[in-house]
């Protein structure tokens, strides 16, 4: 078993002791390999909090998260019974705000920090950095620059590069495509999907983009006010009529097909899953 949440509750604590509930009774099993999960839900619903439990950046108040065989509880962490390094090495997490992740003087140092920390040699880590920087759509000249003097989207790309360079077993991405230009978004989603399909790795991706969910995810998790309210097939999710209550929306491809059917009376044989799919059906029906 990869990652397993059992009856997890978590609240943030304010400076004067108030509690802010962020996770409520979460039970969730995630396989070590082969999953492509989209984690979605309204602003403030607990998505970031949930994924920060997956590599023990946060620890449950009650309940447990078992990460690749290591059972993380508040008690165990307090007694220092848990080695965090092996967990962080295997479960890579790209932060929602790249500013929280970048800290070195140069982009190169930032990218090699993770791999070196987990025992990769300097030469190997540097070689990886030279490859990865191109994978995220930047050229090698960026390696010598300061990660703080970059545009928003460039920072995002560097923060993704740093985690990809670690080659984690499980890859968690907290809104990796917000702030990317449309081509960069598509290219990086293709990269994540390739890691998933060719290496059979589990990917967990937070997004507000329903098109991404519909196109790539095999499983959708929906959060609302700290609760996990849906765990299942993304296509089934979007055929429900209550998604608006969860602040979600219908993917573009579905709403377009609905409009075509409703307004032109064109009968298409099935519900399109991709753009190519919709095109092929239209071509067949119209020619």
């Amino acid at each position: 078993m990869g990652i397993k949440f059992e009856q997890v509750n978590f609240a943030y604590q304010g400076p004067d002791g108030q509690k802010y509930l962020a996770l409520a009774n979460i039970n969730l099993p995630i396989h070590e390999t082969g999953e492509f999960i989209a984690l979605i839900g309204e602003t403030g619903s607990g998505k970031t909090t949930l994924v920060q439990h997956m590599n023990a950046l946060l620890v449950p108040d009650t309940g447990s998260v078992t990460i690749l065989g290591v059972k993380v509880t508040k008690e165990a962490v307090r007694k220092k019974q848990i080695k965090l390094n092996p967990i962080r090495k295997k479960v890579g997490l790209v932060f929602q705000f790249p500013e929280y992740q970048l800290f070195e003087e140069t982009v190169l140092k930032d990218i090699i920090f993770g791999p070196k920390n987990f025992g990769i040699s300097d030469a190997e880590a540097t070689a990886r950095a030279h490859d990865i920087i191109k994978v995220v759509g930047l050229d090698e000249s960026y390696l010598s620059r300061s990660p703080f003097n970059l545009s928003g989207g460039e920072k995002k790309r560097v923060s993704i590069a740093g985690i990809l360079a670690m080659e984690p077993d499980i890859l968690i991405l907290d809104e990796p495509t917000s702030g990317l230009d449309p081509m960069g978004r598509d290219e990086l989603l293709t990269v994540f999907n390739r890691i998933h399909t060719t290496l059979n790795k589990t990917i967990i991706l937070i997004t507000h983009d329903m098109n991404t969910v519909y196109r790539y995810a095999k499983r959708a998790l929906v959060m609302r006010s700290g609760y996990l309210v849906y765990d299942g097939d993304p296509r089934a999710l979007f055929s429900r009529n209550n998604i608006d209550n969860w602040n979600l929306e219908t993917p573009d491809i579905l709403s377009l097909q609905q409009a075509i059917t409703a307004e032109l009376g064109l009968k298409l044989p099935h519900i399109a899953h991709t753009e190519e799919d919709l095109l092929a059906m239209l071509e067949a029906v119209l020619s």
Binding site: G14, Y20, E154, G184, L264, L279
Partner: protein, 266 residues
């Protein structure tokens, strides 16, 4: 309202980031700036409010040429929501944070309290007024950053990817409000990667490598595939389908009209 003349800028000598930008933005206009990551959008917005100093050229806002002497007057006219909301926060609580901008404008106390309540409500953050801005989720931070600028009631508002981390409903709410403000006469400049948001504006400027690649009416720019692709942008889904069908020789006037209308979101 805003006149940008021969504006050039570099962070480091010899590495220009903006080249000879000429742009004039009318009062009451809604302009979107699009362009690839690193094309210079945020830099341009910071030059407009005097957070950066041009290498050459000038910025004139409502008749005032931007300079050391006029920068404060200009910031009373132009509000900006930064790309990273953390860069915006100065207050210990959300309430202080919204108040900060108003204190700078010397808004009377009663009016200030009323505005804080009204704009916190507008962005759905009323129950978080006593919380620390840094201890919020990504989307909540963006909402607070937006509320702080809206409350200042400036003639021009720049939104630099201000809705990028909002959920679909939250984004729609803010975009609807931008539209309402614009109808009331506020000049709006949005920087975004979301083509569905761009289509709602009057006019679109595409930046590429620090130069203006295209400047035109929104609906024309959004149908210009060649230009969009040059700056890492895309056609909207209905227009992609429309272009693809045409390429495949499939004609259906009713469908073409529908695809066009739904891409314009009208």
């Amino acid at each position: 309202m805003i006149e940008i003349r021969n504006l050039s800028f570099e962070y480091q000598t010899g590495k220009p980031v903006l080249h000879d930008i000429n742009l004039s933005i009318e009062k009451g206009e809604w302009l979107t700036i699009l362009g690839h990551n690193g094309s210079g959008k945020s830099t341009l917005s910071k030059l407009i409010v005097g957070l950066l100093k041009p290498k050459t050229g000038s910025v004139v806002v409502d008749g005032l040429t931007l300079s050391h002497e006029t920068v404060h007057a200009i910031r009373r006219k132009v509000g900006i929501v930064f790309q990273n909301p953390d860069n915006q926060f100065v207050g210990v609580t959300v309430r202080d944070d919204i108040a900060f901008g108003l204190e700078n404008l010397q808004v009377p106390r009663d009016d200030m309290i009323e505005r804080i309540e009204r704009f916190a409500q507008k962005v759905g953050m009323t129950e978080f007024l006593n919380k620390e801005p840094h201890a919020l989720s990504g989307g909540q931070k963006q909402r607070v950053a937006i509320a702080g600028i809206l409350a200042m009631d400036t003639d021009v508002i720049i939104f630099d990817e201000a809705t990028a981390m909002l959920d679909p409903k939250g984004r729609r709410m803010i975009v609807d409000y931008m539209r309402q403000l614009n109808r009331e006469g506020v000049t709006i400049l949005t920087i975004t990667h979301d083509m569905k948001e761009a289509v709602l504006s009057d006019r679109i400027v595409i930046l590429k490598e620090g130069k203006i690649l295209l400047d035109g009416e929104a609906s024309a720019v959004l149908n210009n595939r060649a230009m969009l692709e040059q700056s890492n942008l895309e056609l909207l889904l209905p227009l992609r389908i429309r272009h693809a069908l045409t390429e495949r020789g499939v004609r259906h006037p009713g469908l073409e009209a529908l695809l066009w209308a739904s891409s314009l979101n009208k």
